[in-house]
Amino acid sequence: MMDKPWNNRAWLFVLPVLALVLFSSIVPMMTVVNYSLQDSMGVNNFFWNGDAWFRDLLDPSTEIGARFADALLRTFAFSAAALAVEVPLGIAIALCLPRRGWAVGISLVIIALPMLIPWNVVGTIWQIFARADIGLFGAALTGIGLPYNVTQDSVSAWVTIVVIDVWHWTPLVILLSYAGLRAIPDAYYQAARIDGASRWAVFVNIELPKLQKVLVIAVLLRFMQTFMIYTEPVVVTGGGPGSATTFLSIDLVKIAIGQVDVGSAAAMSLVYYIIILTACWIFFTIMTQLDRRRDA
């Protein structure tokens, strides 16, 4: 112990990382915290405001509070709707995919294609696709007599945004489920056949339990992405009609940049951040619990 040489060379390797993290995360984050606790009359003239921004934000009787509560509810509703479609649909498609042969590669590539398209391109595609005058989708629905109008009817707007997200991201659920299904040894299916199990019994008693883990990951990823949805509604509906598709992220940008209400926006982004962090933590806990139960 006594003659252990002092060697601080490790710091040389750690410090650049610390500096990077400092400027990439901690400083911007602290700036937001800073804004959320102060008020400004402009020209870099700040004064202490305590927790007033937060109290206003979380009190639904104030104007900003009502707006926040509405947007939050809308965002949760959107996540729920998207997940409710994407997860069952993804599993169903994964079950139908071929298990071996040349068709596997082709179908996986075709299925993965939507995921490779950037968000704003997806938005633009659908913005045109959904137009009632020249868009194939919109014109077709109008043609068969459905009251479809993205810019005026909030149901149409919602359906369109959910359909876009389903189109764009169900492939992720499909690929994860497919991987999970492929990992089930053949013996399970053989045993089920010998036990005389029906197709439904095989799904409920073998496939679904074995998919549990990948499904938790799929739900986690899809929840976070849908909860942060921004680009598609901005491009397709602009958050409208009215504020029907104004989700949290859109409202945040409106308040921060449109109204330059920095304090409220900062408080809002922190609350937003904490919600996502909490959701992640819950999912992570579920996942590790599942692991432990399996080992037990």
Partner: protein
């Protein structure tokens, strides 16, 4: 309850088998009798699991017919065959309790609830699973999970056959003995046709009434454990059964004498039917070759293995390796010793097939 007949059953995994080598299982005729316990014994890749899967219907054979009693089931799906099968690795339904796992094959066949309960209790008692019946199957050890798999295989009393595909691979050795004897007892109690695939000869010989020894897609011998030990019909059986296997030495045969180099060995019989003199071998179990200090052919001792109750010497006879028993009263083994063959246990093989002798 049935007799299962393999009528020229063969299987190739390629879709257009051209030569014999393409067949993972060469066409085979055999009748599995009701109430017997069979073992399919052979090294990995010899086609034993393929044969088992053909019987259970997981594989449709490329050639031949499969009969249950007189019914042709060759193309019938597994569900309609009334077969139970236990796999190498435990297959359990994660979400169910042990009792639900055991009841699953019966529930799928719409058996009345009370009958299911009684049967599950019976099987659980047989496999000593009763205390775990209401535990979730997922939390069990690998041993217990495999017992649940075995239980699911045994729970249906009306099956034509119960097939086991190396079911004790994951079980630790101490429990292996216990489970094997339990299976044997279950077999006696239930009077079912059981077919047990294994590459472990001890397992096969202790479990089965009849052992089918397979090599390279072919059933080389079907017989009782005693027959396999005493009179291997093929050199492969001699080599594969017994530990260590049979000594096989190239030899010349003349009358009731065999010649290895300049050493003469007397045989228990004469072989007048041998017309050609090529590819001849004599085979003898190490148990019937004894080392002594004087008398007999002179050998060089290379190594002696002490197994406690017996000692085996690895020696060379005219340059050929040979394993011999060292008598307990032979105190030490020098570099030179003599070897004696028990004439009545020397077998003669031509082109790996045993040749029947005529009493001289």
């Amino acid at each position: 309850m049935a007799r299962i007949t393999l009528d020229g059953i063969g299987h190739a995994y390629t879709s257009h088998p051209r030569s014999d080598a393409d067949y993972a299982l060469k066409p085979l005729h055999h009748v599995w009798e009701q109430g017997m316990a069979y073992a399919l014994l052979g090294p990995s890749g010899c086609g034993k699991t393929t044969l088992l899967n053909i019987i259970s219907g997981l594989i449709i054979p490329s050639a031949g017919r499969l009969l249950f009693d007189d019914r042709d089931v060759t193309r019938l799906p597994t569900e309609q065959r009334n077969i139970a099968q236990v796999f190498q690795f435990p297959v359990i339904y994660d979400t169910m309790t042990v009792a639900e796992n055991l009841a699953f094959p019966l529930r799928n066949r719409k058996m009345p609830k009370a009958a299911i309960q009684a049967r599950v209790a019976e099987v659980a008692a047989m496999l000593e699973l009763t205390p775990d019946l209401h535990r979730r199957a997922r939390g069990l050890t690998a041993d217990a999970k495999q017992k649940v798999s075995l239980g699911r295989g045994l729970v249906r009393s009306d099956v034509s056959a119960v097939l086991f595909d190396e079911p004790l691979t994951v079980i630790d050795p101490a429990l292996k003995w216990e489970l094997r004897s339990k299976l044997k007892a279950v077999h006696r109690a239930l009077d079912l046709l059981m077919i047990y695939v294994t590459h472990d000869q001890t397992e096969a010989l202790t479990f089965a009434d009849r052992v089918v020894v397979m090599n390279d897609g072919r059933a080389v011998q079907i017989g009782t454990p005693e027959e396999l030990f005493e009179r291997p019909e093929h050199t492969f059986v001699g080599y594969f059964i017994g530990s260590p296997g049979m000594n096989l030495l190239p030899a010349r045969i003349s009358g009731n004498r065999a010649y290895i180099g300049s050493n003469e060995i007397s045989l228990g019989a004469a072989y007048p039917t041998l017309t050609e003199t090529t590819n001849l071998q004599i085979g003898i179990r190490p148990d019937f070759v004894t080392l002594s200090s004087t008398g007999g052919a002179e050998v060089q001792v290379r190594r002696v293995d002490d197994f406690g109750r017996k000692r085996l010497a690895h020696v060379t006879l005219g340059g050929l390796p040979l394993v011999a028993t060292v008598p307990l009263d032979m105190p030490s083994v020098g570099t030179a010793a003599c070897v004696n063959f028990d004439a009545s246990h020397v077998l003669v093989y031509q082109n790996d097939i045993r040749v029947e002798g005529v009493a001289a």
